[in-house]
Amino acid sequence: MEDFNWGFFLELLVSGVLIGLMYSLIALGFVLIYKSTDAINFAQGEFVMIAGIIVGASAASYGLPLWLAISLSVAFMVLFNVGLERTVLRPMIGRPIVAIIMATIGLAALLRGAGPFFFGAETRPLNLPIDDAPIIIGDHFIYLNPIHLLGAAAAVIFLLGFGWFFLKSRKGVAMRAVADSHQVSMAMGINVQRYFALAWVMAGVVAALGGVIWGSLLGVDTQLAIIGLKVFPVVILGGLDSIVGVIVGGIIVGVVENLAAGYLDPMVGGGTKDFTPYVLMILMLMFKPYGLFGKPIIERI
């Protein structure tokens, strides 16, 4: 066997970590909603897609400046999610979890149709004003994509921000109380429904940011929604209601799929990238279903 190529390994590892952090950003929206409203959002990837499409359409096709396009997309996501919470999710509070899962699956289908229906189905570029020449580090020639770096940095900032928000700020504490028990927090004078809306709004904003970053990496079209499928391994590995878990889970998924793509793909003929995170997730579900940092649920009648 030839010498182990450390440079190749390191490159896979580092870019895996960066991509993993970008997954964490998407998964964060999911966790935010689950943490405070107990609702499961299967449409997180579609949120990302629709936000990306709005940025792409307004910047590339209507020639708006980037900052305006991004604010437009964020504003849309906020309004859309407030409306969504009002019309669909609020009436479903207290219904079985399967019903909420199905509602968001329906929402996902709707958004996947609505995105290209209103904005056109073509793939648009989404160019961030940064130099996309690869950055080369060290004598092993590790190539880093600057967009990966930017995405990972944005993810870390957002994750830290939300960590602070939940631990220290008054609203964040209220939100954790809501997550713990709707009834008790109502009795303590917390406006539960407003916090539900706030959670969806925050998830929408995070999705918009994710849409910009992933859109600049992959181009903007309906395929962007596939990112949403990475959310599940990330949150299951990390634990559904933990922000630390999201970071760790994201990094694990990013590294594992990058290594699989680097080492296993040549052996079995491709496709392992989409598949290994799910195998990992199944193992996790069998042995430790609440994830690395999740809170076990004790059930009573």
């Binding site: 499961i40 299967f42 019309t87 669909v88 009436p91 479903m92 219904r95 079985p96 979890i97 399967v98 019903a99 899962i101 199905m102 509602a103 699956i105 329906g106 929402l107 996902a108 289908a109 709707l110 958004l111 996947r112 149709g113 609505a114 290209p116 229906f117 189905a121 499928l229 599940f232 299951i236 559904l240 079995v268 003929g269 496709g271 989409d274 598949f275 799910y278 195998v279 997730m281 199944i282 579900l285 069998m286 279903p289 059930e299 009573r300 009648i301």
Partner: protein, 355 residues
């Protein structure tokens, strides 16, 4: 108006346990049977018969999912993957070993049931969201395995051509023959499900759905019955997969992608969770939806959209309507089309003296 219960006394256990205790119920079932088995095949165009063939297949699959989701309360987003297991098992047996349909159909179902049990094993510890994600993972993993194993998928295209089924020495080549062939399976599936859900097993399923811890305390082996539910549901899915393969005369994994799983979920939800009739309604509704939209778009779409992108717009429009309908039914009418039908029936039961 005709559906009067009064005056009929159930004097035997047999009479009490009948599916349709009232003569009017029996007559209407007989009438529906007569229309579907005699009138429709005689007078309908082959194109409409082919739609009915698709509906028959969908009925089998939807009943399977309803047993799992509607009666046992276990969600599965991998229904289409189980269908593909059945389809490829049967396709290999038919082409390589030359098995007849009456062996190939059940063996496809049994193989799917075995895989279903394997996927269902984690359901002891996990439920709700976790189960949804586990079955989603199963969908991707099964898809990948089939696609990357030439021994199963039959080479590069991942598709196997299958001859039409031969019944009593006669190949089912025309639409009418296929219609009878598939309809027979749909009828068997409907009767089997109606009997299943009122048996001991079915009642255990319902107890688990309503409160699984309570079910365990009253002596139901929850794990075993959850696995039964997965096995039975996957068996139906596998059979539906085999039938679809026979119908298309080709087994191809692209017919069993995740969107198909979601179609089946939509059938069960829009039709009515935990109801046999609802599954049938849902199967009809979801199968007809794209066809109706396409006919509508073909006739009126050109007024609104560029003809070049019309096909694309039709597909997008279908997705929008589909998603909106799922959400609408979940929020407004969680019991689905079945509830609407019951409301209509109950209204006319005492009509015109509504009080």
């Amino acid at each position: 108006m005709f559906h009067r219960e009064s005056g009929y006394y159930k004097t035997t256990y047999k009479g009490d346990m009948a599916f349709y205790p009232l003569p009017v119920g029996r007559w209407s079932v007989a009438l529906v049977g007569f229309i579907f088995l005699v009138v429709i095949p005689l007078f309908l165009d082959p194109y409409y018969l082919s739609i009915l063939c698709l509906i028959s297949i969908a009925v089998v699959g939807a009943l399977g999912l309803n047993i799992l989701l509607g009666y046992t309360g276990q969600i599965s987003i991998g229904h289409a993957a189980f269908m593909s297991v059945g389809a490829y098992t049967a396709a290999n047996l038919i082409t390589k070993l030359d098995w007849p349909f009456w062996l190939a159909v059940p063996s496809g179902g049994i193989m799917a049931a075995a895989v279903g049990v394997l996927v269902g094993i984690p359901s002891l510890r996990i439920k709700g969201l976790y189960l949804a994600i586990a079955t989603l993972a199963a969908q991707f993993i099964i898809e990948w395995v089939i696609n990357h194993t030439p021994a199963i998928s039959g080479g590069v295209q991942a598709s196997i051509e299958v001859p039409r089924p031969v019944v009593f020495g006669e190949a089912m080549n025309t639409e009418i023959e296929l219609y009878y062939f598939l309809m027979a399976f749909a009828v068997i599936a409907i009767v089997a499900t109606m009997n299943l859900v009122r048996s001991r097993v079915g009642r255990a399923f319902i107890a688990i759905r309503d409160q699984d811890i309570a079910a365990e305390i009253i002596g139901i082996n929850v794990f075993r019955y959850k696995l039964y539910a997965f096995a039975i549901s996957s068996f139906y899915a596998g059979v539906a997969g085999v039938l679809y393969t026979y119908y298309l005369s080709i087994a191809n994994y692209e017919q069993f992608l995740i969107v198909v799983s979601i179609d089946y979920l939509a059938m069960v939800i829009i039709g009515g969770l935990g109801s046999v009739l609802g599954s049938v309604f849902g199967a009809i509704f979801i199968t007809l939806l794209p066809i109706v939209i396409r006919i509508f778009m073909d006739s009126f779409g050109a007024f609104f959209f560029d003809p070049v992108i019309l096909a694309q717009v039709t597909a997008q429009f279908r997705l929008i309507l589909f998603g909106a309908l799922i959400m609408f039914f979940l929020v407004v009418e969680p019991e689905g089309l079945n509830r609407l039908w019951l409301n209509i029936r109950n209204y006319f039961r005492i009509w015109p003296f509504s009080y």
